[in-house]
C-alpha cells in the first residue's frame, strides 16, 4: 500500500491549549484590550468617556468579537483536521506494528467490486 498515512512514523498529537490560551492567542491579534489581561484595565481606562465614545467603543468591540468568531472557526477547522489526521495515523501506527495482514482481504474486496 502506498498510503502516505502508513509511512508517517509515530503519530504526533496536535498541541492542546487551554480555552483562555486559545482565546488570548487569537484576540491579541485583533483587539488586545479584549484579552483576559487587557480587559482588566478597561473600567479604569474608560471611566471618563462620553456616551458617544462609549457607543463607538462598543461597536469596535462587537466587530472585534465578530472577527474573533471568524478566526476561531478557521482555527477549529485546522484543529479538527489535525485531530482527524492523528486518528488516522494512530490506527495506521497500530496496523504497521501488528503481525496480521488484511491486504489479501482488501485485495479480494477490490477485485470483487472491480469486476462488477
Amino acid at each position: 500500500m502506498s498510503d502516505p498515512q502508513k509511512s508517517s512514523g509515530i503519530p504526533q498529537k496536535p498541541p492542546f491549549k487551554s480555552g483562555a490560551e486559545i482565546f488570548d492567542g487569537i484576540m491579541m491579534e485583533i483587539e488586545p484590550e479584549l484579552t483576559t489581561t487587557g480587559s482588566q484595565a478597561l473600567e479604569e481606562k474608560y471611566k471618563n468617556e462620553t456616551p458617544e465614545q462609549k457607543k463607538a467603543r462598543g461597536e469596535r468591540y462587537a466587530k472585534a468579537f465578530e472577527e474573533y468568531e471568524k478566526r476561531y472557526a478557521a482555527y477549529r477547522l485546522e484543529q479538527e483536521s489535525q485531530v482527524h489526521a492523528f486518528k488516522r495515523q494512530v490506527i495506521h501506527f497500530a496496523e504497521d506494528r501488528s503481525n496480521g495482514d488484511d491486504q489479501q482481504r482488501l485485495f479480494s474486496l477490490e477485485s470483487a467490486l472491480g469486476s462488477a
Partner: protein
C-alpha cells in the same frame, strides 16, 4: 490486519475512556456538552449584539468564548485519547491478547503517548465517537424497533447491521449521516463506488480517470468526515461478514435464488394489499428487497404488476462481498426509512410537519428519498415542453443552489436562515435570562428593586415573546426551505439516474444488435435481416429518457414491425411512440421489450433455425 470491526461490536454502545498515565485527560463529564456549547454560542451571539450599544458585558462574552474554546479543546483531546485507546486495544487483540501482548502494546504506544498503559484491553471498544460518552439506553419502543429491523436482516450481516441499527435508532444524528452518505453513494458510478468503498485503501497513484477521481472527491466533500467514517464502518462490517465465507463459491446458489425470489414475491404481495401506499412505504419495500439481494435499481420494473416475477425480481449478481455491500446499503436505507415511519407512528404530527411545503420542523434524521422515478421524470419533461433533461437538471441545480443559499447564506452578502435562526435563538436566550432575572428581583429584591423590576418586567416579557415568535417563524422557514432543497436534490438525482440508465440501455442494445448480426451472418445466414439490422442506429432520445431506434428506411422499419408480428411478438408491446414525421424511427419507452422483440425476430427465423450463436 484490520482494526476497525472490533470497535463496533453490537450491544456495546458505551464509549469507554481510560486514564492513560500521567498526561491522560479525564474523560468528559456526561453533562451534554453539545447543549452547553449551543447555549454558549447563542448567548455569545446575543451579547455581541448588545455590546454595540453597551460595552460593559465584555467580560461575559469573553468568558463564554473561553468556555467554548475550552469545551472544544477538551473534546479534541478526548478524541485523540480515545483514538489511541482504540488502536491500542485492537493491536492488543491482534497480538493474541495476554500479558506479553499487553506489555508490547504499552511499550509501542508509549512512543505515541508517553506513559501510556492500556488498562482494560478487553473492554476497550466501541468508542468511535468521544462525544457519545453516555450509554444510550433505548426505550422499550426503540428496542422493539431494533428487534423488528434485525428480524429481516440475513444472518451473516446481522452483526454488522446491529451496531448500525442500534446507533441510528438511539441517535438521530447517526441516522442523518447514514442517509446522507447512502444518498451520495447511490449517485456514484460503479467505478467510483469501488473507490469510495476502498476508502483509505484507495491508491491515488493508480490510473483512475479524472472523472472518477472527481466523483470520489465530490463524494468525500459531500459526506464529510462522519460520512467517510460511516463508509469505513460498512466496509469493515461487510469484510467481517464475508470472513469465513471466503472459500465458498461466491455465486448465488439455486436454493438461495429461489428463496430470495419467494421472499420478494411475498414482500410485494403484502405491499400490493395496501390501498394507497405512500412514497415512504414504497421505498421501504425497495429497501427490503435490496436486503434480500434483489436488484432494485429500476423501481418501475419492480413495481410493474404486468411483468413476470422473474423479470421483476432479478438477483444482484456478484461475489459475496459485493452483494454484502449492496445488502448492507439496503439495511441503511431500511433503517432510516423505518425511523421516519416510527416517528410518524409515535407522533402523527411529524408527518404533517415533515411534508414538503408545509411549515414545521422536519423530523431529525428522517429524510424522504425524493426519488420521482422514470415516470416522474417523464411527467416533468411533459410539463416543461421544449426542455431536455439536461435543461431540467440545469434549472433544478440553479433552484437548488438558490435554496442552499437561502439556508446557509452567502456571507458576507447574505446571512441565511440558519444564521438568522442562530442569532434569533441567542436573542431569545438573552431575553429569557432578562425576564428571569427581573422576576427574581421582583420577588426577592429590596422594595425599590421590586418596583423597578416590576415596571420593566412587562416590556421584557413582551420582548421575550417577540423573540420567541421570531425564532418559531425562522424555524418554520428553515423546515420549509429544507424540504424544498431535499425535493430538488431528489429530482436532480432522478433525472441523472434516468439519463444514466438510458445510456446503459443504449450500450446494451448496441451490443444485442451486434451479436444479432454475427449470429445471422453465420450459416445458413439471413442476409436480408442482416441488411435490415445493418442500417439500425440506436440513440438516446431528445428527452434523455427513451431510446430512438433509427432504421435505414421507412420500409426497413415497417419490415421489422412486420417480422415482429409474424414471429408472434405483438409490435404494440414495444411501447413505441410512432414518429409520423421521422418515419424511420421507433421511439422506445422500454429498451428491454425491444430486446425481447429482437430476440423473437431472430430466434424464430426459419433460415436461422439451424444457426448457432457465433459466440
Amino acid at each position: 490486519m484490520r482494526l476497525h470491526p472490533s470497535f463496533w461490536q453490537a450491544g456495546e454502545s458505551r464509549f469507554l475512556f481510560f486514564a492513560g498515565g500521567a498526561e491522560a485527560p479525564q474523560a468528559p463529564q456526561p453533562e451534554a456538552p453539545d447543549q452547553n456549547r449551543e447555549e454558549a454560542k447563542n448567548a455569545v451571539a446575543a451579547l455581541i449584539e448588545q455590546l454595540k450599544t453597551d460595552p460593559k458585558n465584555v467580560e461575559v462574552v469573553q468568558k463564554l468564548e473561553i468556555a467554548k474554546a475550552e469545551m472544544d479543546a477538551n473534546k479534541d483531546q478526548a478524541t485523540c485519547e480515545a483514538a489511541v485507546d482504540r488502536a491500542a486495544s485492537a493491536y492488543y487483540r491482534a497480538l493474541g491478547r495476554g500479558p506479553e501482548a499487553l506489555a508490547k502494546v504499552n511499550t509501542d504506544f508509549n512512543t505515541v503517548s508517553p506513559g501510556y498503559q492500556l488498562k482494560d484491553p478487553e473492554g476497550a471498544k466501541n468508542f468511535d465517537n468521544p462525544e457519545n460518552t453516555q450509554e444510550k439506553k433505548l426505550t422499550p419502543e426503540q428496542e422493539k424497533l431494533v428487534q423488528n429491523l434485525l428480524s429481516i436482516v440475513p444472518d451473516p450481516l446481522k452483526k454488522a447491521a446491529e451496531s448500525v441499527i442500534r446507533e441510528a435508532v438511539s441517535n438521530p444524528q447517526t441516522a442523518a449521516i447514514a442517509q446522507k452518505t447512502f444518498d451520495a453513494f447511490q449517485r456514484l458510478s460503479q467505478r467510483a463506488k469501488v473507490e469510495a468503498m476502498r476508502g483509505q485503501a484507495s491508491k491515488q497513484s493508480e490510473a483512475l480517470s479524472p472523472q472518477i477521481q472527481q466523483e470520489v472527491e465530490q463524494f468525500k466533500r459531500e459526506v464529510g468526515p462522519e460520512g467517510l467514517t460511516f463508509m469505513q464502518r460498512l466496509r469493515d462490517g461487510v469484510l467481517d461478514a464475508a470472513q469465513g465465507q471466503e472459500k465458498q463459491d461466491s455465486k448465488i446458489t439455486p436454493e438461495e435464488r429461489e428463496n430470495a425470489l419467494h421472499e420478494a414475491e411475498k414482500i410485494l404481495s403484502d405491499f400490493e394489499k395496501i390501498s394507497a401506499p405512500t412514497e415512504l412505504e414504497r421505498n421501504l419495500v425497495l429497501a427490503q428487497l435490496q436486503i434480500k439481494g434483489i436488484d432494485v435499481r429500476e423501481p418501475d420494473v419492480v413495481f410493474d404488476k404486468g411483468k413476470k416475477p422473474e423479470e421483476r425480481f432479478k438477483m444482484l449478481e456478484g461475489s459475496n462481498v459485493e452483494r454484502g455491500i449492496y445488502q448492507l446499503l439496503g439495511i441503511v436505507s431500511y433503517v432510516v426509512l423505518s425511523l421516519q415511519k416510527f416517528k410518524e407512528t409515535m407522533n402523527p404530527e411529524e408527518k404533517k410537519k415533515g411534508a414538503p411545503g408545509v411549515p414545521g420542523k422536519l423530523p431529525e434524521g428522517a429524510i424522504a428519498t425524493g426519488n420521482i422515478g422514470k415516470e416522474g421524470v417523464r411527467k416533468m419533461l411533459k410539463d416543461n415542453p421544449g426542455k431536455t433533461a439536461a435543461d431540467l437538471i440545469s434549472v433544478k441545480e440553479t433552484e437548488r443552489d438558490a435554496s442552499k443559499k437561502k439556508i446557509d447564506g452567502d456571507e458576507p452578502a447574505t446571512r441565511g436562515i440558519k444564521k438568522d435562526l442562530e442569532l434569533a435563538t441567542g436573542v431569545q436566550a438573552a431575553e429569557k435570562t432578562k425576564v428571569e432575572g427581573l422576576r427574581q428581583k421582583a420577588s426577592t429584591g429590596t422594595e425599590e428593586e421590586k418596583r423597578d423590576a416590576s415596571s420593566r418586567l412587562i416590556q421584557a416579557e413582551k420582548d421575550y415573546k417577540n423573540a420567541t415568535t421570531n425564532v418559531e417563524t425562522l424555524q418554520q422557514q428553515l423546515a420549509q426551505e429544507q424540504a424544498t432543497l431535499h425535493r430538488l436534490e431528489g429530482e436532480i438525482k432522478s433525472i441523472k439516474d434516468v439519463q444514466a440508465q438510458a445510456s446503459l440501455d443504449k450500450s446494451a442494445l448496441d451490443q444485442a444488435i451486434a451479436m444479432g448480426k454475427i449470429r445471422l451472418a453465420a450459416p445458413p445466414g439471413n442476409p436480408k435481416l442482416v441488411a435490415l439490422l445493418e442500417g439500425v442506429k440506436i440513440d438516446v432520445s431528445e428527452n434523455a429518457i427513451d431510446l430512438k431506434v433509427e432504421f435505414a428506411s421507412k420500409e426497413a422499419r415497417a419490415e421489422f414491425l412486420q417480422l415482429c408480428d409474424q414471429r408472434n411478438f405483438d409490435p404494440t408491446k414495444l411501447n413505441v411512440e410512432i414518429d409520423m414525421i421521422r418515419d424511420t424511427i421507433l421511439t422506445l419507452k422500454d429498451a428491454q421489450i425491444f430486446r425481447s422483440a429482437l430476440d423473437a425476430v431472430m430466434a424464430k427465423l426459419p433460415e436461422a433455425g439451424a444457426a448457432k450463436p457465433a459466440s
